[in-house]
């Protein structure tokens, strides 16, 4: 990690020293040229003057400009043309005119040659610095990681370098310190500020068994953390890789720009030759024709074209990373503009994803305790979140009796999971089923008497589990998954912005509608089995472009099917490989931020592409027409790349 940072700093330093060196020679050259060429005052004879310019110019072009000349000519010979090829050719030809001057009648451009190189180097220096600013968020992410860790070795606490931490080491993290690496809390309790990774400002409570993320900050208690992931396997390292890879991905709009940059340099080379030939044919002298051809070589700027998209993407994705929004595919920010329908998964996306028992209704002589004991004994065997809610409730009510000894649970024979409907089994000699309406109908169990309670639960947005003993209903349990605090606000905003919001869920229509109306969603797709979600996305796509928001773990196919897949989850619980955009926080306002960020980044990309195209379209013909002096041409070229990079940096002013 430190390696990367030093490469960048070294690059800025190198350009800076080249810049200083070049200008020390170019300033006297410029003074000489102003006196002679502009004011017409001859200080030296013209032979001596040219010789001086050649001597002073040599170090500028061939020493300070060495790397540019080398890479440019290698590009020319290997046909891997690059930006340097144009500058290298332009400056070397200009320099050679100075030598030719002694042998034939030709205008001398050797002074111009070193000025071009000096301006080029200056431009590169400014550009490199601006690029450093563009990547500052990523750099901050890289710097986030702790450098040292205090680990427990035997009974002793020793401080070691982060690179020496091994999986399984127990790390002691004091209040105010950074958690050095990903791990699990084995002792202690504290709140941890995870904002640097998730963008969420409220600290999360951590206790024994909680997962913690490396680089987050421990607030007020001492935590003993067992390292579970180290080095390049940590969450932070994954995020950095993901963001950096995404920055290299293509945005469809850049296709044309890419095609042009691919052939740009050879075309300009050809154009320069044609320009030279053309001016000669028109009866101009060799000197003037060479000067104009040099202008053409140095004014063309494939850089601004090539940089327009990646530099904007870099600033945008950096801004996102800081807020817990990861742009994984550049394409998504363009597609986002076309999206009309936003489809939300219910559980875990609109709701907290942690169902709780809210109502217990018993029938006949059944006691609440008995109902819960029976239900918990059966549901204990299921992994479903609703089953867990019932088991938790039973534990809570009975002071943990059920929790302590499994023998308090009744033993179940012939347990069956009835997918999407419920569970069933025998306790003693009685058979029980717990499940939804569908299951009761299937088993021919009459809901008479309980119907109105079930409907009431459903209207309140609760999932209702009906319990029957033999053919008789003995009670019903209402389970609610509370809506997240900001779901309503986020969805209302999206509605207001003109998006069609839709909710998809496995729940029945009535429960689904109740939740949907709580948050302001009008269209609901209910009773959907998990494997059918992708198909439902496809159905919606017939109407318009669809963005799907889901947890990334169960919804991977739907995320993939959607035009833009937005995966969300909190902290390390998220599958960051799913989705085109990933929200490392669980609040729906992140969706709004992601949309705003995508739009802002995309409009910056368009702006930059426009300027880059416009610059080349205007500047190159001017150069061909012989209107621009080579030095002016070079200044224009340097400015155009700097403009593109600085304009991208302006994106940061945008409020997301």
């Amino acid at each position: 990690m430190e390696n990367k940072e030093s490469i960048e700093d070294r690059e800025i330093r190198t350009w800076k020293s080249k810049l200083l060196g070049a200008w020390i020679f170019v300033v006297p050259i410029a003074i000489l040229m102003v006196f002679e060429r502009l004011l017409g005052i001859m200080i030296f004879s013209s032979n001596l003057m040219v010789a001086l310019l050649l001597i002073l110019g040599f170090p500028v072009v061939f020493i300070f400009g060495f790397s540019t000349i080398k890479s440019g000519f290698r590009g020319l010979f290997t046909f891997y043309f690059n930006m340097d090829s144009l500058i290298a050719l332009g400056t070397v030809i200009a320099y050679l005119t100075g030598i030719l001057f002694f042998f034939m009648e030709v205008a001398d451009y050797s002074g111009v040659s070193s000025m071009i190189m000096a301006i080029f180097i200056t431009g590169k220096y400014i550009e490199t610095k601006a690029k450093g600013r563009a990547s500052q968020e990523i750099k901050k992410l890289l710097e986030l990681g702790a450098k040292k860790a205090r680990v427990l070795r035997g009974k002793e606490e020793i401080e070691i370098d982060i690179s020496e931490v091994k999986i399984g080491d127990v790390i002691i993290v004091k209040p105010g310190e950074k958690i050095p690496t990903d791990g699990i809390v084995v002792k202690g309790e504290s709140a941890v500020d995870e904002s640097m990774v998730t963008g969420e400002s409220i600290p999360n409570d951590k206790l024994k068994g909680s997962n913690v993320i490396g680089a987050t900050v421990n607030q007020d208690g001492i935590l003993y953390v067992k390292a579970t992931k180290i080095g390049k396997d940590t969450f932070l390292a994954h995020i950095i890789d993901l963001v950096e890879e995404a920055q290299g991905t293509k945005v469809p709009i850049q296709k044309l720009a890419d095609k042009i940059t691919g052939v740009f340099v050879p075309i300009i080379l050809a154009l320069a030759v044609l320009t030279f030939g053309g001016w000669m044919i028109l009866g101009n002298d060799v000197g003037r024709s060479i000067g104009i051809a040099i202008s053409v070589l140095v004014i063309a700027c494939p850089c601004s074209l090539g940089l327009a998209v990646p530099i904007s993407l870099m600033v945008g994705s950096g801004m996102g990373a800081k807020r817990g929004i990861l742009i994984r595919k550049g394409e998504a920010i363009q597609t986002m503009k076309e999206v009309k329908i936003i489809l939300f998964d219910k559980t875990g996306t609109i709701t907290k994803g942690k169902p709780e028992v809210t109502d217990i209704k018993t029938f006949g002589k059944t006691s609440e305790r008995y109902l819960l004991e029976i239900s918990a004994s059966l549901e204990k065997l299921s992994e479903h979140p609703i089953a867990k809610a019932i088991v938790n409730k039973a534990n809570l009510l009975q002071g943990g009796v059920l929790h302590k000894g499994a023998k308090k649970y009744k033993s179940v024979k012939g347990f069956k999971i009835l997918r999407g409907r419920g569970v069933g089994g025998k306790i003693g000699n009685k058979s029980y089923v717990i499940g939804n309406r569908l299951l009761m109908n299937e088993k021919n169990i009459s809901l008479k008497g309980i119907e109105k309670f079930v409907e009431k639960f459903e209207e309140e947005g609760k999932t209702t589990m009906i319990i029957s003993e033999g053919k008789n209903v003995i009670g019903a349990i209402g389970v609610a998954d509370a809506v997240k605090d900001d779901s309503k606000r986020a969805i209302q905003y999206l509605n207001y912005k003109g998006y069609k919001t839709v909710m998809i869920t496995g729940d029945n229509e009535r429960t689904a509608k109740a939740i949907a109306s709580q948050v302001g969603i009008k269209e609901v797709i209910a009773n959907v089995l998990p494997e059918d979600k992708a198909k439902k996305v496809m159905d919606l796509q017939r109407r318009a472009m669809v963005a799907f928001v889901g947890d990334g773990i169960n919804d991977a196919p739907a995320l993939k099917q959607a035009n833009v897949g937005i995966a969300m989850g909190s902290g390390t619980d998220i599958a960051i490989e799913a989705g085109d955009l990933v929200l490392v926080k669980s609040s729906l306002t992140g969706v709004i931020q992601a949309i705003n960020l995508s739009k802002a980044t995309f409009s910056k990309i368009k702006q930059n592409l426009f300027w880059a195209f416009a610059y080349n379209v205007v500047a190159i013909p001017l150069a061909v027409a012989g209107i621009l002096h080579p030095v002016i041409a070079e200044i224009a070229m340097a400015l155009s790349s700097i403009t593109v990079v600085s304009n991208a940096n302006l994106l940061r002013r945008k409020r997301i």
């Binding site: 590009g75 690029k131 563009a134 890879e245 920055q247 940059t261």
Partner: protein
């Protein structure tokens, strides 16, 4: 298999294009993204492709692969 290549010497967008082109020519390389600004290339390769081949491809385009992992 995904591989990350740290590349030195890329300074403009044409450079990124060059590296990308050269890496794509290596048989067994399926996906290439080059991030000029982060100085990194990301490639999807099958097991047959050796680090040496990737390194050579980067060098053929005129740049230096400092690290592959």
């Amino acid at each position: 298999m995904k591989k990350k290549i740290l590349i030195e010497g890329m300074h403009c967008a044409s450079c990124g294009n060059n590296v990308e082109k050269s890496l794509k020519k290596v048989p067994g390389v399926s996906e290439v993204t080059v991030n000029v600004m982060a100085k990194k290339g990301f490639v999807e390769v099958d097991e047959k492709v050796s680090d040496e081949e990737l390194k050579k491809a980067v060098e053929r385009a005129g740049y230096k692969a400092v690290e592959i992992n």
